[in-house]
Structure formats: structure tokens, C-alpha cells
């Protein structure tokens, strides 16, 4: 088995989906968490000067979704057919589009201007969440309301969205109340025994 090291910040964010894939598949790995203080020193050793980076036998692979897809393919969480895998990818890319729209709101959450946070929640977060989660709700329903976004087994997009929702709710309670099928999908995902075990013991972080 190759040796794996996943380098990311001290948070869930864009790295957690890959940590969860490694835990779900019971694959040993070094969970390399880099503090804000240490990041400037480590930055130049990363191919694109960003995190996460996965090291496979010491060889780096950047970009969160490329990493998640690579691990999902290794461990069987990438869909059962090429078309299913492509739909997992499409939802992953749509998540990225949504995430970029949310960035001004996320930046404000890191500060202490409460008025800015409220304003951006209304003007930025709510429209972006409504747009993306409506797509997810329809997708979950069209897929048969079977607890998965694609096909009939767990894929990395189920994991990634479920984790993101947990972070979102810390700052915006009931953010996803209008999306019951997605909420049920999340409940099913985070209560999987191996995932639940990891979630209960992982470091608690602000994002």
C-alpha cells in the first residue's frame, strides 16, 4: 500500500472529504494539519502554493477535488459507472461554483463585524444556498430519495456536501431547512458507523 499524507489547514473545509475517504476505507495516513503561523513557511513546498495537497509515496498531488476523486477511485466511492462518476464530478464542480459565490460571506465570518456578517448572510449566502441546494434537492429526489446524490451507494459528493452542511450550520442555523431530502441524505451519511466514529473524535475546528 502506498504511504499517504494529507496536508491541510486546521479545519474541515476543502480537506475533510479526503480525510473521511481515508477513514472510511481504513487506510492509514498522516493527517498533517498546518497552523496559520506555519503556513507561510510551508507554502513554497506545495505545487500550487495552496492546500490541500495529498502526498502519495512522497509525490504531491494538489487541488481538493482532484485529491478526493483520486482517493474515491482507489477506495470505491466514485460511482459505479463512468456516467455516474461524471455526475459525481458535475455536482463537485457545481459545489465549487457555489463555494466561490460564498467566499465574501466566509471571509466576514472570520472577522468580528456583526453587521457585515448579517448583511452578507442576506445578500450573498441565502441566494447562493438557495440556488445550489435547490439543485441538490432536485437531484436527490430524481435519484430516488435513496440517501445518495448519485447511484445507490455512497460517493464522495455525499460525503463532501454532508460535511459542508455541518460547518455551515455552525454560523447559519437552519440554513438548509428548505431542503428535506438533502437533510435526510446528510443524516444518513454522517451516521454511517465508520464516519460517525471519526466525526466524534476529530478535532473541533471553526470551519
Amino acid at each position: 500500500m502506498p504511504t499517504y499524507k494529507l496536508s491541510y489547514f486546521e479545519g474541515q473545509g476543502l480537506g475533510e472529504v479526503s480525510r473521511q475517504l481515508l477513514h472510511l476505507s481504513e487506510t492509514p495516513f498522516e493527517d498533517d494539519r498546518i497552523s496559520q503561523e506555519d503556513w507561510p513557511k510551508r507554502k513554497d513546498s506545495m505545487p500550487f502554493a495552496k492546500l490541500p495537497v495529498l502526498f502519495v509515496d512522497g509525490k504531491p498531488l494538489p487541488q481538493s477535488l482532484a485529491i478526493a476523486r483520486y482517493l474515491a477511485n482507489q477506495f470505491g466511492f466514485a460511482g459505479k459507472t463512468p456516467f455516474e462518476s461524471a455526475w459525481v464530478d458535475a455536482l463537485g464542480d457545481q459545489f465549487k461554483d457555489y463555494f466561490s459565490e460564498m467566499v465574501p460571506y466566509f471571509m466576514a465570518l472570520g472577522g468580528d463585524n456583526e453587521e457585515e456578517k448579517s448583511r452578507l448572510q442576506l445578500e450573498v449566502a441565502e441566494p447562493a444556498i438557495n440556488k445550489f441546494f435547490s439543485i441538490l434537492e432536485k437531484r436527490a429526489k430524481d435519484n430516488g430519495s435513496n440517501g445518495h446524490f448519485v447511484g445507490d451507494s455512497l460517493t464522495w459528493i455525499d460525503i463532501h456536501i454532508s460535511d459542508h452542511m455541518g460547518v455551515g450550520e455552525k454560523y447559519f442555523p437552519n440554513a438548509y431547512a428548505a431542503f428535506p431530502t438533502v437533510l435526510a441524505l446528510r443524516e444518513g451519511t454522517v451516521s454511517l458507523p465508520k464516519l460517525k466514529e471519526w466525526i466524534e473524535k476529530r478535532p473541533v475546528t471553526p470551519y
Binding site: 494538489p62 476523486r69 483520486y70 455526475w87 464530478d89
Partner: protein, 211 residues
């Protein structure tokens, strides 16, 4: 046993943008497909029939698949342009996502030069385009070198990231003629890619578009 090829339709705007890499994959693999180009004024009516309200969309036997890079990767996997190992395929994906990040940074400049909005082209060129290009193409130049300066960004055969980057350079040069003059290895990749005989055949006859 007769296996029939699926029917393919690719719906996109009348331009290269994020749809062209997939058109090129069809042409390179001699796979018939419907090159469905939706005129800008017909887009609002067509939009609601797409899964995410966006294009491109690939239809495989009538079943839709959205998102440009999900489509490109799916076709590249079918036709053999996705890298030779899982790790190579992942590096193609990583470069494609980095391209997307770069594109988001340069978009304000491109939006204006494509004619979609008003703006100060000179100012946007200096403040937006040049920094974005330097950052991304610096990464690509290093990548090309680390990959052995063999005319490919990943491995030793053509992949869809060679196609995407090469096509984008062509669009960029319409507005910034010397855009990649500081990146000779990337230019070599572009030259090798665009002189592939099958690709060249398509490039010589495709519609000329502003993006």
C-alpha cells in the same frame, strides 16, 4: 455481439470557451456528435431545460451531463485522453481545476474584451490579466519542465489539459498577442498540440468566434 456507440450531443454557446475541449475530444477520436450551438438570444428559453441552468451540457443517448470538466473528463476517459495512470489522471484534474481558478481571476478582463461589458481594457490588462497570467503560466511552465519538456503537461501523451490550455492560449492571443512569450515550454506544448494532424483538420474548419 454488436455494441452500438451511444449518440452524443454537446450543447454550448457559439464559441470555444468551456465547450471546445469536448468538441476537440470528439474530433480527435473520430466520434460523431451533434455540435449543438445555442445562439445567445435563444439561451434564456433553453436554460431551464438544462440540469444546472448552465452550458455546456453533454447528452449521452439523450441523458444530460452538465459541467464542462465533468464532460471533458468523461469523454477523455472514453477516448483515451485522460492520462495513463490514476495518478496522472489526477494531475490532469488538478491542472484543470487550477485553470478554473486562474480563469475566475482573469474573467473581469476577458468579460470586457469579449464584448460582454464595459471597462478600462488597459487598466484591467495591467491589474487583472497580467498578474493572473503570470501566476498560472508560471505554474504551467514549471510543470512542463518537471514533466520532461516533452510537449505535454502530464505524462507522455496528449491529455485533455493540453487541449484546454492550448485552446485558451489561442483565445487569449486574440486580445493579448504576446500573452505567453515568457513561457516557452508552454508554447511548445501549444504548438505540438495544435499541429496534431486530426486536431489541425478541425481547427482549420471550425467556425471563427470571438471567444
Amino acid at each position: 455481439l454488436l455494441t452500438t456507440m451511444p449518440s452524443y450531443k454537446l450543447s454550448y454557446f457559439p464559441g470555444r470557451g468551456l465547450g471546445e475541449v469536448s468538441r476537440q475530444l470528439f474530433h480527435l477520436s473520430d466520434t460523431p456528435f451533434e455540435d449543438h450551438r445555442v445562439p445567445m438570444d435563444e439561451w434564456p428559453a433553453y436554460k431551464d431545460s438544462t440540469p444546472f441552468g448552465q452550458m455546456p451540457v453533454l447528452f449521452v443517448d439523450g441523458k444530460p451531463l452538465p459541467q464542462s470538466f465533468a464532460i471533458a473528463r468523461f469523454l477523455a476517459d472514453q477516448f483515451g485522453f485522460a492520462g495513463k495512470t490514476p495518478f496522472e489522471a489526477a494531475w490532469v484534474d488538478a491542472l484543470a481545476d487550477q485553470y478554473k481558478d486562474y480563469f475566475a481571476e482573469i474573467r473581469p478582463f476577458l468579460f470586457v474584451v469579449f464584448g460582454f461589458g464595459e471597462g478600462d481594457k488597459e487598466k484591467l490588462k495591467k491589474k487583472v490579466a497580467e498578474p493572473a497570467i503570470n501566476k498560472f503560466f508560471g505554474i504551467l511552465e514549471k510543470r512542463a519542465k518537471d514533466n520532461g519538456s516533452n510537449g505535454h503537461l502530464v505524462g507522455n501523451s496528449l491529455t485533455w489539459i493540453d487541449l484546454q490550455v492550448s485552446d485558451h492560449i489561442g483565445v487569449l492571443e486574440l486580445y493579448l498577442p504576446n500573452a505567453i512569450s515568457a513561457y516557452p515550454l508552454v508554447n511548445e506544448i501549444r504548438k505540438k498540440t495544435t499541429t496534431d494532424p486530426k486536431l489541425k483538420e478541425w481547427l482549420d474548419k471550425r467556425p471563427v468566434t470571438p471567444f
